[in-house]
């Protein structure tokens, strides 16, 4: 069976499980007594094991198997969950995470060696087992060495049937622990309908006795009814043949049942007649695979959604085109149907968009671990508080979000939060808090990273700006604090002593800014000395279709994203004042800068005398407003953003282009850079 089709599904689910492990381990660190958490980790490890072995990723499978063993001991209260164990389990998590990353990039888990970790895990178990084993079972306890030898032998025997490492592991191990391993061959009655459901019952009944480690055909194939009338399973159980036979006797529509014990002692095990796992590696996790397929949700390759989105885009272009035909307004029927078409395409667009949305949780879940490690490294006490982690964001944004956020969080812990001693001295609680918030605001999703640390010293930043020659002393004196702050996002603005004496806040913040802007978003910062720092990231909900206002500048059409427009005004030209070179206008009790798009965009001269009344679009960029002077309004419509391609990527004031209904092209202005 070709597993490549399942790869993305595997990655997705494995990541979820892995995150779950990490999150729960961190919880355990706080409360190592909570049995339900241990259960949860155990389940995740178990699921991971099943998936990894199905995909043939043996290093991952065998490591998770070892983890499971340790967790099982903990679960049975045979082993105390010491911090050392948690640490080791976290290391295992790292290992698995790296494997997954490799799988994602190359399709294989890489050549990593997990034996050291496995050894480490084993050492915890053998500590606990040494006593009871010797007391109870003389035979087994005789010598560990013998066990080892035995194991080697068994593995060799079983390798005849080409089981994978993990399956051999289980079989040989269970032999040592006094389990029975049976090969069970089942033939269904010839007129059996719904064979997969029948097989499901068999699996379910057998699993009441023990664990099914392999099947032929694979669990997936059985589920898909890709088998004749017979199938085989390998069951590891504490029960004897009679019990197995009894359980199967009570399942209906079975023609025959053949049970052979796979002995771990005999010279030649009777496994030759099973063709288990010859080419496929069966999943021992019948239950999980079944339920995942029967759930109400399905997983879809993101590429397919992309192409669906693309098609919706094309549909919107066509709709715009019909609407731009002047004649259509005269025909009442046509008008009605086009309006209806408009509503449907809008709904369709929204639905597709929603399908692409995923909760930011996916990214947020990584942070507790990062914060734990950083806190340990820097000897600070840090608590993370997340809010709104179920806020949904477009999938393509999520993937890009993690890096800048990690950057900001690192910054906050490294430079923002003070040491325990300092905090106590300043009358703050010993533990520093980092807040991670997400919420929707209009067409944007907002993500905030806030700490209650020492904040930034604005005067020192001013000094540094002058020192780095980013602006002259005079100008910087006049610029307001907000603008001064924006300098810390400048590429050159690094430094040690600039901000605090620990190290320079702002290291690499330009990277964050670039990344966020590439996503069409903006970053803001607000801070106060010793009050902490807050970074606010604003991102568009989606990247491909937006509502826009079309305007005319000279004879050219431009699109302004509706989300950033506050209002449209008509102003007298004498209302505009000049301060030095900058034109300003009074807007709701505030002086805001006026930008003449004609000048900014250098549109062709049209020699028309400036009219007395100007049309001005008030746009907002974060908290600030700007007035854009345009020549004419065209209208509001949904537009499809087409990228300008790499050659034009440097033109910052234009974020893309769109095709209008009449086939002409309008450039989409990026408000963040225009203003």
């Amino acid at each position: 069976m070709d597993n490549s089709n399942y790869l993305s599904l595997f990655l997705e689910e494995s990541k979820e499980n892995l995150e779950n492990i990490s999150r729960n381990l961190l919880l355990l660190e706080k409360d190592s007594q909570d049995a339900s958490i241990i259960d949860d980790i155990f389940r995740s490890a178990h699921t991971l094991k099943g998936m990894a072995s199905t995909m043939g990723f043996n290093a991952m499978a065998s490591l998770t198997h070892s983890m499971e063993n340790v967790l099982d001991e903990v679960r049975k209260n045979k082993l105390f969950l010491s911090p050392a164990i948690i640490d080791l389990l976290l290391q295992c998590y790292d290992f698995l995470d790296l494997c997954l990353q490799d799988v994602e990039l190359t399709g294989s888990e890489g050549e990593r060696d997990a034996s050291e970790l496995k050894q480490g895990l084993l050492s915890f178990i053998s500590d606990t087992q040494a006593e009871p084993v010797q007391e109870k079972e003389d035979k087994k306890g005789q010598a560990k060495a013998k066990d080892k030898q035995e194991e080697a032998q068994i593995v060799e025997h079983i390798s005849d049937v080409d089981l994978d490492v993990y399956q051999k592991d289980i079989i040989s191990e269970s032999g040592q622990q006094g389990f029975n391993t049976f090969n069970i061959k089942i033939q269904l009655v010839s007129d059996c309908l719904l064979k997969s459901a029948r097989a499901y019952i068999v699996f379910r009944e057998l699993e009441t006795l023990g664990e099914i480690v392999a099947s032929n055909p694979s669990a997936e194939d059985i589920e898909e009814e890709q088998f004749g009338n017979t199938f085989s399973v390998i069951l590891v159980t504490t029960s004897d043949v009679e019990a197995v036979k009894h359980v199967l006797d009570l399942v209906t529509e079975l023609e025959s049942v053949e049970i052979t014990q796979i002995s771990t002692e005999t010279e030649k095990p009777v496994v030759n007649d099973i063709e288990v796992g010859k080419h496929q590696k069966a999943s021992p996790q019948k239950k999980t695979t079944t339920s995942s397929k029967l759930g109400k949700s399905i997983r879809v390759d993101i590429d397919r959604l992309d192409s669906l989105m693309n098609l919706v885009s094309e549909l919107i272009i066509v709709k715009n085109r019909i609407q731009s035909e002047n004649s259509y307004e005269q025909d009442k029927n046509l008008l009605e149907s086009v309006e209806y078409l408009g509503r449907v395409t809008t709904d369709l667009h929204e639905t597709v968009m929603k399908v692409r949305m995923v909760p930011v949780e996916i990214v947020f879940n990584r942070f507790p671990r990062i914060i734990r490690d950083l806190a340990k490294e820097t000897h600070k006490s840090v608590e993370l508080i997340t809010e709104g982690s179920n806020t949904e964001v477009d999938r393509s944004i999520i993937d890009e979000l993690s890096e800048p956020l990690i950057h900001l969080i690192r910054n906050s812990i490294d430079h923002g939060l003070e040491t325990k001693e300092e905090r106590i001295k300043n009358g703050k609680p010993e533990t520093g808090y980092i807040y991670l918030r997400a919420y929707h605001e209009g067409n944007n999703v907002v993500i905030e990273v806030e700490d209650d640390g020492q904040g930034l010293d604005i005067d020192k930043i001013r000094e540094k700006i002058v020192k780095l020659d980013l602006a002259s002393e005079e100008t910087i004196k006049e610029t307001d604090d907000n603008q001064v702050m924006s300098f810390i996002f400048e590429p050159g603005f690094t430094t040690s002593d600039a901000v605090t004496n620990i190290s320079g806040r702002g290291v690499g913040l330009d990277v964050v800014k670039t990344k966020i802007e590439a996503l069409g978003g903006i970053v803001d910062i607000s801070t106060g000395k010793s009050k902490g720092t807050k970074f606010t990231i604003r991102l568009p909900l989606t990247l491909s279709i937006i509502k826009a206002l079309l305007v005319k500048v000279s004879d050219e059409k431009y699109a302004l994203p509706l989300g950033s427009i506050a209002e449209i005004l008509e102003v007298e030209s004498e209302q505009i004042n000049k301060l030095k070179e900058q034109e300003l206008i009074q807007y709701r009790g505030q002086l805001i800068p006026v930008i003449r798009l004609k000048k900014l965009l250098k549109t062709p001269e049209d020699n028309i005398r400036e009219p007395d009344r100007l049309i001005m679009v008030i746009v907002k960029k974060g908290e600030r407003h700007f007035g854009l002077v345009i020549d004419d309004l065209v209208g509001q419509q949904e537009i499809v953003i087409k990228s300008l391609g790499e050659y034009l990527a440097d033109i910052q004031i234009v974020s893309g282009a769109t095709i209008l209904g009449d086939g002409s092209i309008a450039l989409i202005l990026d408000i963040n850079h225009v203003a």
Binding site: L193, L194, A197, R204, D249, L250, V251, E253, T290, L294
Partner: protein
């Protein structure tokens, strides 16, 4: 002692057929119900050894009824009775805790086999 059985199906015809098969072979049909809600009610009243449950029914479908009966008694024994082409529903009810399933149109011996095995104790 004869095993007590509750038959649930919205079609009277089906209930009659099953009842016929069962009574002829020494089982006691203690109650019948025509939808899931009634089934739960009758289950509590009669506490049968086995329930034969249709899947598609008005008011409350068989799958949900299985879930609720299982909540009342986790050892309740239930055999689903389904028309062909309800693969996913059969799976769902098995996951909900049904023990076995028989497909319509059914043969008497299949029904009896399933009933016998389900009530074996």
């Amino acid at each position: 002692m004869a095993k007590k059985i509750l038959i649930v199906d919205d079609a009277l015809f089906m209930r009659m057929m099953i009842k016929n098969i069962l009574t002829k072979n020494g089982y006691e049909v203690v109650a019948e119900a025509e939808n899931g809600l009634k089934a739960i009610e009758k289950y509590q009243q009669t506490n049968p050894d086995l329930v034969i449950m249709d899947i598609t029914m008005p008011e409350l479908n068989g799958i949900e009824a299985v879930r609720r009966i299982k909540k009342i008694n986790k050892d309740a024994k239930i055999i689903m009775c389904s028309a062909m082409g309800q693969r996913s529903m059969v799976f769902e009810s098995l996951q909900a805790g049904a023990r076995d399933f028989i497909l319509k149109p059914f043969q008497a011996e299949r029904v009896l086999d399933a009933v016998k095995k389900a009530t074996y104790s």
